[in-house]
């Protein structure tokens, strides 16, 4: 028997590990679908215009071809998926309209994968082509101020005046690139019908969302749709929203009365799902002679598709990280002929903290101050925008812990002063912060003697959800973890919210604890035999009806900012060493130390991995990852894993992750702040700051290229 303190907070290998190392873990495309036939997508070769006509004769002649879906024959069979933001979605087979390069324009279905692929290659398309706009600055790209609604523009004091009067000023422009998630698992969908009931196997961060959205698209009762995603092979935001492909595979399966299976190719994944849009920023910081911030003005520009208003508006975070009496922010959208962007690991904070944390470093140099001390001086005792207390804030504790481990004291601040042979050494630091979010969630607990099984429609994206659920239940039910089994990723189970925004562990663990409480209450009443209880947890500040929204596949979330009682963020500090080669300009990152304080850590082992994975994403975002765009064709050119560079083992530095203990009684009852995204936030700036320290070159456009160094 376990006691109360023996499980939560103790490192434990993941319970799904054995299934993963033996190949037994079933990802959606691994689910058996007897009699399945294959779909292959045909995507547009132009970025703007119309499909004038198809010549399908040659494709239909390929042996084994069963059906070819185009706007001609299925255009009215499905509506576009609901967008995740204001504005409208781009369309696919609903019409002849082409919104972006790589848009789905036909779906070929054949007896074998090879036949479907060959036939897809033999679909000939005649286009009415118009000149596309690719990105910022392209002729025809339309800029507009973001509509109010999804996000706010924090503002206090008189920033323009304060900036004008500031004795020390930073006024710079920054750019972050287009990036694609590239989870290792591809975008797959298998659909089959049993009578009027539809089953979908698809990797997802939100099976209830997918179920309800697809039902709506097809005009059928959501109760007739089942979605299964037991394991998801990485998502990082890319599998959060419903994409166009799913409904068309369902339509194909209905037409053929057979299961239809799609495994979209890696390059198609760049255009049939979402991505992190490129951003631009103007950031102005004003400070007094001692380094105290007097003005912060942050204006952002984000790229999106023609019809969508999707934006991430990271100014909601950058406005409140530091104590500053005069703050103003604004976000603008630029529409081009591109697919609609979407969530990607720390969607707002990764691009928006780059300018802030770069500018803080620039300000430290302008003031001849240590960058850590500049942050200490401007550490915010409360939320500077609304004056609410922090649920807890351990930013400087993180700085101090990581600085000591890193050996920051030995740093000679003069750029270029530290060398090792041909290598110029640079040390940089930056702040990490991420709002602590939590969503409504349901869970079922079934206790049978000394064995318990837990079920909820949440997701383990690799984060360790299976394991933290088992740990939470084992602790509450006083059972060994080995006696708890967990089922996730199936819409027959109680609903859980979108596994995103670093909210999932907080959301699911509170629901599991609530269900366990009900079981324990029955036990206390003397009930024996099998006890099964279902409970839902609705976070403080949300109405009870919020759980209905989740059941209907909609979003409901209590965010770290915008609460009435406090503002809740997890904080961290990054320190990184870069080495820039004096002759070739090669940049290496031999070591990194980061410290984080994220409230209660259920499983330090999985938490450590989440932080570390995030940090490596950050290095990658700073030095490698950029989706290159052909400006004439508005087309992604490096849409494969040979040319879209994600880090390999040799790129990963020696990494130290420090978990700074933090007890937070205000954020939520279990004190969980979320850890999946904070690891990446600010790393890009820490790298750029280190590169400046090594070389004296301030790079304000990511990724930092070898050309920037020679």
């Amino acid at each position: 028997m376990a006691d109360d303190t023996s499980i939560i907070g103790k490192a434990r290998p993941r319970i799904d590990g054995p299934a993963k190392v033996t190949g037994a873990a079933r990802y959606p495309s691994d689910e058996p679908a007897p009699g399945a036939v294959w779909a292959f997508l045909v995507t547009s070769a132009i970025a703007r215009g119309k499909v004038k006509s198809f010549d399908l004769d040659e494709a239909k002649a390929v042996p084994g071809v069963l059906d070819i879906l185009t706007h001609w024959n299925v255009g009215g069979d499905a509506k576009p998926p609901a967008p995740t933001s204001k504005g409208k979605p781009t369309t696919t087979l609903e019409s002849d309209r082409i919104w972006h390069d790589g848009q789905i324009i036909a779906v070929v279905v054949a007896e074998t994968y090879e036949a479907a692929r060959e036939a897809a290659n033999r679909v000939h398309v005649d286009y009415d082509e118009e000149k596309p706009s690719a990105t910022f600055g392209s002729p025809g790209a339309q800029e507009e101020k973001r509509e109010p609604g999804d996000h706010e523009d924090p503002k206090i004091g008189d920033p323009e005046k304060a900036f004008g009067a500031a004795p020390v000023k930073i006024d710079q422009r920054y750019e972050t690139p287009t990036q694609h998630h590239n989870p290792m698992e591809l975008f797959t969908t298998t659909c089959f019908w049993q009578g009027d009931k539809l089953t979908i196997y698809e990797p997802s961060q939100f099976v209830y969302g997918l179920k309800n959205n697809v039902a709506k698209q097809l005009g059928i009762d959501p109760a007739k749709v089942t979605v299964v995603s037991r394991f998801t092979g990485g998502a990082f935001g890319s599998k959060g929203g419903t994409t166009a492909r799913t409904a068309w595979i369902a339509v194909a399966a209905r037409r053929l009365k057979r299961p239809v299976k799609l495994v979209a190719t890696r390059d198609q994944g760049f255009t049939i799902a979402t991505y992190r849009a490129e951003t631009r920023h103007r950031l102005r910081l004003g400070a007094d002679a001692n380094g105290r911030l007097t003005a912060l003005i942050h204006e952002g520009w984000e790229l999106t598709s023609r019809p969508s208003q999707y934006n991430v508006s990271g100014t909601e975070s950058t406005a409140r990280i530091y104590a500053c009496p005069n703050v103003e922010t604004a976000v603008n959208l630029v529409h081009a002929d591109r697919n609609t962007p979407g969530f990607m690991r720390a969607p707002p904070d990764t691009p928006y903290m780059f300018p802030l944390e770069s500018a803080m470093d620039e300000l430290a140099y302008a003031l001849k101050m240590d960058p850590v001390e500049l942050r200490r001086l401007n550490d915010a005792p409360k939320d500077p925008i609304n004056g609410l207390p922090w649920s807890s804030r351990s930013l400087m504790k993180c700085y101090d812990a990581a600085a000591e481990r890193f050996g920051w004291k030995q740093r000679n601040p003069v750029p270029g002063a530290m060398r090792d042979g041909d290598w110029k050494i640079g040390w940089g630091c930056a702040t990490a912060a991420y709002p602590s979010n939590i969503a409504p969630c349901g869970a079922t607990v079934r206790l049978d003697g000394d064995k318990a099984s837990i079920g909820l429609a949440g997701q383990d994206l690799g984060t360790g959800a299976y394991t933290v659920i088992a740990m939470t239940a084992a602790q509450a039910l006083k059972l060994p973890v080995e006696n708890v089994s967990v089922e996730l990723g199936h819409t027959d189970l109680p609903a859980a919210s979108l596994a995103a925004g670093s909210s999932h562990t907080a959301s699911i663990c509170h629901a599991v604890a609530a269900a366990c409480d009900k079981v324990n209450a029955k036990r206390a009443q003397g009930e024996t035999g099998v006890i099964e209880e279902t409970a839902a947890n609705v976070p403080n500040g949300l109405p009870d009806s919020a759980m209905d929204k989740i059941n209907h596949g909609q979003m409901a979330i209590s965010r770290g900012f915008g609460r009435k009682d406090c503002t809740a963020y997890a904080f961290g500090a990054h320190f990184i060493e870069v080495r820039v080669h004096g002759r070739t300009g090669e940049i290496r990152t031999p070591r990194m130390v980061s410290a984080f304080a994220s409230g209660t850590i259920i499983n330090p082992l999985t938490a450590y991995s989440q932080y570390m994975g995030g940090m490596i994403w950050g290095i990658s975002a700073a030095l490698f990852e950029k989706t290159e765009i052909d400006l004439r064709a508005a087309r992604y050119t490096n849409d494969n894993l040979a040319d879209y560079l994600i880090p390999v083992n040799a790129d990963a530095p020696e990494i130290d992750v420090l978990l700074v203990p933090e007890e937070d009684n205000a954020v939520n009852p279990m004190g969980i702040k979320g850890i999946g995204e904070i690891g990446i936030v600010g790393v890009n700036a820490a790298v750029a700051n280190a590169v400046f320290h090594a070389t004296g070159r301030r790079i304000r456009r990511l990724p930092i290229r070898i050309e920037d160094m020679v």
């Binding site: 590990g17 690799g462 360790g464 040319d643």
Partner: protein, 479 residues
């Protein structure tokens, strides 16, 4: 005429017919054999999620190598053994040492890349009784993980390396029964596949099908199918031709058969000149090196292949053979223009001859790429100079990534020849490089960057050959 494809899959004989010759092993495993542990992540040999071990009979034992199943055409497995992640557990259900360590060290997060890492490391453990850290790093250089940051996987490999029980299960007898003495001919749905076993059969069948696609390791041709959706009506596979698979030391030098894998060729070339080792490790992943061949990397004529520049600098000759006989040419003369080679109808690349390196010749090859491993070079430069008494007697310089073909820097060479090996000569040679190359800008590097790097690499060669104590090596793996 068609025979069935025979191979051993996880201990069982499989006889396959009726499937297209360009079906990949990955598709077969997942969709026909229902072994879904092997994953698809890229379908082009970049990510390693589909890594499997391939066993090949060699003098009464089985040699195992890891390869990417996503670009291996099924008929190339004829006569081989395939081991997937499902076959690693013991008969009593125990995890193998790598699997066990991956669980304990938390080497798996989303788990999608995990079977590939497990197979790469299990193959290493089988082949290497005491793997060094460098061996481990090398074994997984072709496996991408988007979650873990790799450190827990390295920890797992180090832990597994302590285990004694690390053999892959093999069955020599079963493999012996499916070896062929004559050419394997396979046909399905009108598409043909030939795997000759002798040089005579090879030139004969090529003469019969002069438009056939020559297939060696499939690390390029595989992508023609998976990425460019090309139809390959006739494929001739060189991987079973005994004569093309040998490496010989002759009076002339090192003879490398065209179908020798890069793994094997590198071993011989590294013995020939140790300075190639660093580049070899970064040339491609182990899985690609196990499959890819020296001949294929030359015959496909890529301007950015890392094989030709060092071979050209070493004055390698190329032997081409057809039914009419053999001809030999200087390797650099084989590359005519972008993707255009001097290969006549019916000719195959038979072997590469690397002449003995005269004493006094200094040689270096450098690869510059954005990412350390598994990345295509922005620039690859190779330098060979015969320096006698401080004077350059002979110099050969070749670059990849600087022109439409791998190309010699004749102007720079001429600036060096007969001159004292000093700073002034270096500057002249560096300046002459501008006459040799007009590189292009693409997403790997700008033209200016390429030109700068080419100049700097020549300088680096000068420093390394004149001041050997100066540290110029690319930053090593984190210890």
């Amino acid at each position: 005429m068609t025979e069935s494809i025979r191979f051993i899959l996880n201990g069982e004989l499989r006889e396959v017919s009726g499937l297209p010759p360009s079906m990949t092993l990955l598709q077969y495993l997942r969709e026909r054999a229902h072994l879904t542990g092997t994953k698809e992540g890229c379908a082009e040999g970049d990510c390693g999620a589909c890594t499997v071990a391939i066993g090949r009979l060699n003098n009464g034992k089985v040699d195992y190598q890891s390869i990417n199943a996503c670009i291996a055409f099924l008929p190339t497995l004829d006569g081989r053994e395939v081991v997937t992640v499902e076959h690693l557990k013991s008969k009593t259900g125990q995890l193998n040492p790598v699997q066990d360590a991956m669980v304990k060290c938390h080497g798996s997060q989303c788990g999608f890349c995990t079977p590939g890492f497990v197979m790469a490391l299990s193959t290493l453990m089988h082949n290497c009784k005491d793997a060094k850290d460098d061996d481990i790093q090398d074994a997984i250089a072709g496996n991408l993980c988007r979650c873990t940051g790799y450190r827990p996987i390295l920890d797992a490999a180090r832990l597994a390396n302590k285990s004694k029980d690390r053999e892959l299960p093999s069955d020599v007898n079963a493999l012996e029964k499916i070896q062929r003495k004559k050419m394997f001919a396979y046909e399905a749905g009108g598409a043909k596949f030939f795997a000759p076993v002798t040089g005579e059969e090879l030139v004969e069948v090529y003469a019969q099908y002069p438009n056939a696609t020559m297939l060696a390791g499939g690390t390029d041709v595989g992508l023609w199918v998976t990425k460019f959706h090309m139809d390959l009506p006739v494929i001739i596979y060189t991987g079973n031709v005994e004569g093309l698979r040998s490496i010989r030391e002759t009076a002339e030098g090192l003879e490398i058969g065209a179908a020798v894998s890069y793994t094997d060729a590198f071993e011989a070339l590294a013995a020939y000149d140790g300075s190639m080792l660093d580049m070899f490790k970064r040339f491609a992943s182990v899985h690609i090196r196990n499959a890819g061949t020296v001949g294929g990397n030359i015959a496909n004529g890529s301007p950015i292949g890392d094989g030709p520049p060092p071979l050209i600098a070493l004055n390698a000759k190329l032997v081409l053979r057809s039914k009419a006989g053999a001809r030999t040419l200087n390797l650099e003369d084989f590359f005519l223009a972008y993707k255009k080679q001097d290969r006549k109808q019916g000719e195959i690349v038979e072997k590469i001859i690397v002449p003995k390196k005269p004493a006094g010749v200094q040689f270096r090859v450098y690869k510059i790429s954005k990412r350390f491993d598994q990345d295509i070079s922005a620039v690859c430069g190779a330098f060979a100079a015969d320096i006698q008494n401080g004077k350059v007697v002979e110099a050969r310089i070749a670059f990849g990534g600087m022109a439409g073909t791998p190309k010699r820097a004749t102007h720079a060479e001429n600036a060096l020849k007969g001159q004292p090996w000093n700073e002034a000569t270096l500057q002249k040679a560096v300046a002459a490089l501008d006459k040799d190359y007009a590189p292009m800008t693409d997403m790997r590097a700008s033209a200016k960057y390429r030109a700068d790097v080419a100049r700097n690499l020549l300088k680096r060669f000068f420093i390394e050959t004149t001041e050997p104590d100066v540290e110029t090596q690319v930053y090593r793996y984190a210890e």
